[in-house]
């Protein structure tokens, strides 16, 4: 009698499926190391996962805001009086409790917190910030506080990304960049416009075009928008009005819109900049009441102007389709500045993107309507002005000129609108920068006691170049082809102690007078043949000055040569020249 085999004996027939399963298991066990994702691949894969998570979070966030609004204010555009007055105030009390007791980090701008994660905390954003932001913003925006869902969405995306990045133990470099990747995903889903979100994160959070992170940001933004459109539909934020330039002189009307937008942006930023630190400086117990007080005031405003409550996308849509007379539009723009300032400075969590768009749409519509009233032959519909106006406020208030232009293009899908947008946005941006040197986000971070890098300052910082520091060579430039004796004679005739040598092949070498004298034992030998083997790094005049700092090493002098002819010396540069140039630039500043 034979004992039954524990497994299939070599001679026994096993089913093909069993065999396949066994071999697959073996392969997996043996090659687990090979299956592990490499860091860069994981980063890109993670960007997609982050995009999907952020998209889902934003979908749930928006649904929750709407559901809460329905619950507390009803389904009509004009809720009953008692609710309009009481709901924002009561919700404000709840928000204050949550912010003060449970989620202290949800106060403030999500953009700045993402930047802080990038520049200070190695990409770390506590996950309870995501939960806190979700809950408090649902309460705030759903109850009618004049704030928007974009900035919280951005921060939720960043928080989700941070949590995943940390738990997957990404490298320090990648984990730092993961928060902006999530921020782009969150913002893209909230705006339903991936290009603007990518540009915003590059322009305002990261501040540089880095190939390493750009791919991940784009992947995350696109994934989140796909998810958002999957569940909430592909409709843009607004129904876009038709645009056509009636007459070239109409560009003057858009310039006027730029001036109005610039002034409105200034008032908006100044109001926040003035009131926020003063309210924060009040005794701590008042901070429990500030959101409620702001809610009460907004509720009272809402009795006459219900349009200023909440994010206001429906009313922006109406403004873009000439549903309000220009006086009403101007009034709504002004009222929204006041209401949003009240909500934001009271410490109520929520974003200022939607209010900025709202103010821009209303101001734009008002300017368009006014101009159409007095010059009907010159201007098109007020709706087009409202559309341009949203970009104008974005440029003037948030100070992201690049994003502001592309946002209008992306939202409108109309390339022909670019000229009015550029004119209007540039004027608003210039006015805002002239009278408010510190941009909004930098101002907020400085009020919070954090000195985050200012992207605008970085953008506008004058780059010092090598041509600013180089000078003509003081001594002779030796030629590798000449005789060693001649070279020594030249060196002895000069006051310099270090000499540049131009070799026949275009390379450069350097030699001290003492070294030259020691090596020139045969005065008839060619100079090149007695030189040491080391080559001297060279520079070009247009390169940034820090390149010289990195390359100069132990050399007392480096040659600055022509880009098309490396043998052609344009100047020399020493460490002292570099340092002097930096010092001078600082003094001039």
């Amino acid at each position: 009698m034979t004992e039954p085999a524990a497994g299939p004996s070599p001679g026994a027939r096993s089913s093909p499926l069993q065999g396949l399963f066994t071999s697959l298991r073996e392969k997996l066990r043996l090659e687990r190391g090979a299956l592990a994702l490499r860091e860069q691949q994981l980063f890109l894969f993670l960007a997609v996962i982050i995009g999907i998570f952020s998209g889902l979070a934003v979908v749930l966030f928006r649904i929750s805001i709407d559901e809460f609004r329905l619950w507390v204010l009803g389904s009509g555009l004009n809720p009953p009086t008692a609710r309009v007055v009481l709901v924002p105030a009561l919700a404000g009390l709840g928000i204050a409790l949550l912010v003060m007791r449970v989620f202290p980090r949800v106060r403030g701008s999500g953009v700045n917190q993402t930047k802080a994660a990038l520049y200070i905390y190695d990409g770390y954003i506590p996950f309870n910030t995501v939960i806190g932001k979700f809950l408090t913003c649902v309460l705030a925006i759903g109850s009618g506080q004049s704030l928007g869902p974009e900035d919280p969405s951005l921060q939720m995306g960043a928080g989700i990304a941070s949590a995943l990045g940390w738990r997957l133990r990404l490298s320090r470099e990648h984990v730092r960049l993961i928060a902006p990747v999530g921020a782009a995903a969150g913002l893209a889903a909230a705006f339903n416009s991936p290009i603007s979100a990518v540009l915003f994160v590059i322009e305002e959070v990261i501040g540089r075009w880095s190939a390493g992170v750009l791919g991940a940001i784009v992947l995350a933004a696109v994934s989140s928008v796909v998810v958002e459109r999957w569940f909430l539909g592909a409709e843009p934020l607004f129904r876009i009005p038709a645009y056509h330039l009636v007459h070239p002189a109409e560009l003057g009307a858009y310039a006027a819109l730029g001036v109005v937008g610039g002034v409105a942006s200034l008032i908006f930023v100044k109001l926040i900049g003035y009131a926020r630190p003063r309210l924060k400086a009040l005794p701590r117990w008042t901070q429990y009441l500030q959101p409620a007080a702001a809610g009460l005031l907004i509720g009272v405003m809402g009795l006459w102007l219900p349009q200023v409550m909440g994010a206001g996308y429906d009313y922006m849509d109406q403004a873009m389709h000439d549903q309000f007379p220009w006086r009403m539009l101007a009034l709504l723009g002004a009222a929204k500045i006041l209401a949003t300032s009240l909500s934001f400075v009271s410490g109520t969590p929520g974003g200022m993107f939607a209010p900025a768009l709202f103010v821009g749409a209303m101001m734009g519509g008002a300017v368009g309507g006014l101009e159409h009233h007095y010059f009907p032959w010159l201007t098109g519909s007020g709706g087009a002005y409202a559309l341009v106006g949203i970009g104008t406020l974005f440029a003037g208030f948030l100070r992201v000129p690049f994003t502001s232009v592309f946002m209008v293009l992306e939202v409108s899908g109309n390339y022909s609108i670019i000229l009015p947008v550029i004119i209007s946005n540039t004027i608003a941006y210039v006015i805002s920068r002239r009278y408010q040197p510190v941009p909004l986000f930098d101002m907020l971070s400085r009020q919070d006691g954090i000195n985050l890098p200012s992207m605008e300052e970085q953008r506008e910082e004058a780059t010092l170049r090598i041509e600013d520091a180089m000078r003509p060579p003081a001594g002779p430039v030796l030629d590798g082809e000449e005789l060693a004796g001649v070279a020594v004679a030249k060196a002895e005739a000069s006051a310099q102690t270090f000499f540049l040598v131009r070799r026949k092949n275009g390379d450069w070498q350097g030699i001290t007078e003492e070294d030259l004298r020691q090596r020139a034992t045969d005065p008839h030998a060619r100079l090149e043949s007695i030189l040491p083997d080391s080559r001297l790094p060279f520079l070009h005049p247009d390169q940034p000055l820090e390149v010289a700092l990195r390359r100069i090493g132990p050399w007392p002098l480096l040659p600055v040569v022509h880009r098309a002819d490396f043998g052609k010396l344009q100047g020399v540069i020493s460490l002292a020249d570099i340092l002097n140039t930096y010092r001078k630039a600082k003094e001039e500043k």
């Binding site: 979908v59 200070i120 770390y124 995943l164 409709e235 038709a242 429906d314 389709h321």
Partner: protein, 407 residues
């Protein structure tokens, strides 16, 4: 702002508001202990679950949106029907919050706005819809109606034509016909008869077998002065429905306008039989009978009867002349520069001895010149004293027909 603190264990900066290093604390948690691959798989599984859950929530959300939109829309329709346009406007606006791109809701909002007298707002809504769908027949027709209401004739005509040649979701032929009917009415009201005739003739060539529609288009052709086409359409309507009162009345009126009083009498009598309370048909019948009763040129009349009618017409005309002159304070005899009425009265006095039944029966050639004088008197009296009634109207109609049924 608290100063930056670094963790003694891992060396990382501790975020503000944190007491302990969150990174080190998290490492101790259950999830942190997972291998990277395991955690990634767990993440993917969570993602899948969240995706499904979000799908479920989103479906409920959209269903709720649709239900709210439909509910506000129903309320709006009820308010509009009850004539409360302002309440309807708010309801339709609320409906649009939940169904932003619903063309029907926006159309009805525009309708409510127009009903509330907020024509400019209504127009803006419609123009927005037109921007999205320039060829939408319904939108163009509504815009045409608004322009019609505002008296903007060229704009109304443009939108009517866009509506006629536009796209319609259901039964485009009927909608286009309706738009052309409205356009024709508008043209007639604006006094643009030639344009209306062109539209109506185009419409008449392509009508379905609907007697009421034939009668309706026939009535418009009648108003446009296209009597031949109108008569054809009324007859077609009567072939489809012989007792259709509107068609009978229309046909009667058409023949009446064509001065074909026999046919007019035929159809008007039938019309009055079908609807004894039809005031227009009764009045026209009365006038027609008056015309036929006084016309001396009708066929198959005896010489005696022709003479009798001529005498009666002359008496009636002279009486009309005298009453008209009296009402205007014009003396009929003895002025050096006689007015037309005075001249006519003098001529009437001159022929009066010959206008006797016996004379006219004996000399029927006198009937025509006598009747010409009668017509001249009636025309002059109409010019001086306005449109007459009764027998004078009948005589005037005979005058317009240059002798009525004169052979």
């Amino acid at each position: 702002m608290e100063p930056e603190r670094r963790c003694g264990q891992c060396g990382k900066a501790i975020p503000w508001g944190q007491v302990e290093c969150p990174f080190c604390a998290e490492r101790g948690t259950f999830f942190w202990s997972f291998r990277r691959e395991t955690f990634l798989l767990a993440t993917l599984a969570t993602l899948l679950l969240l995706f499904v859950a979000t799908g479920f929530v989103a479906r409920l959300y959209h269903a709720q949106e649709q239900s709210l939109a439909a509910s506000w829309h129903r309320r709006g329709e009820a308010e509009l029907r009850a004539g409360r346009a302002n309440a309807a406007i708010e309801d339709f606006r609320n409906a649009l919050v939940y169904a932003r791109d619903n063309t029907q809701y926006r159309l009805q909002l525009a309708e409510a706005l127009a009903a509330a007298g907020r024509v400019e707002e209504a127009r803006n809504h419609l123009l927005n819809l037109r921007e999205a769908e320039p060829g939408n027949g319904t939108v163009n027709l509504e815009l045409a109606r608004l322009a019609k209401r505002q008296g903007l004739v060229p704009e109304a005509l443009r939108y009517f034509h866009h509506a006629i040649y536009g796209e319609w979701d259901d039964d485009p032929i009927a909608h286009r016909r309706q738009a052309r009917l409205e356009l024709s009415e508008f043209l007639l009201r604006s006094g643009m008869k030639a344009e209306a005739q062109a539209e109506l003739i185009a419409l008449a060539n392509d009508l379905p077998p609907d007697p009421a529609l034939h009668a309706q288009v026939g009535a418009l052709l009648l108003r446009a002065g296209e009597y031949d086409h109108a008569a054809v359409l009324f007859k077609q309507a009567l072939r489809l429905q012989p007792n259709l009162a509107e068609a009978l009345e229309g046909a009667g009126e058409t023949y009446f306008e064509m001065a074909d009083y026999h046919n007019a009498q035929h159809y008007l009598e039938r019309a009055v039989r079908e609807d004894p309370n039809a005031p227009r048909a009764s009045s026209l019948l009365e006038t027609t009978e008056g015309v036929l009763g006084i016309d001396p040129f009708q066929r198959r009349l005896s010489s005696q009867e022709r003479a009798r009618r001529t005498v009666r017409a002359m008496k009636q005309a002279v009486a009309r002349l005298e009453s008209c002159a009296a009402s205007r304070g014009i003396p009929l005899a003895g002025t050096s520069a006689p007015t037309p009425l005075q001249q006519l009265w003098a001529r009437a006095q001159e022929v009066q001895p010959q206008v006797r039944e016996r004379v006219l029966a004996r000399e029927p050639d006198r009937i025509a010149p006598t009747m010409d004088l009668v017509f001249e008197i009636e025309r002059a009296a109409e010019q001086e004293c306005g449109t007459p009634q009764g027998l004078d109207q009948a005589l005037l109609l005979l005058a317009r027909g240059q002798g009525g049924t004169r052979p």
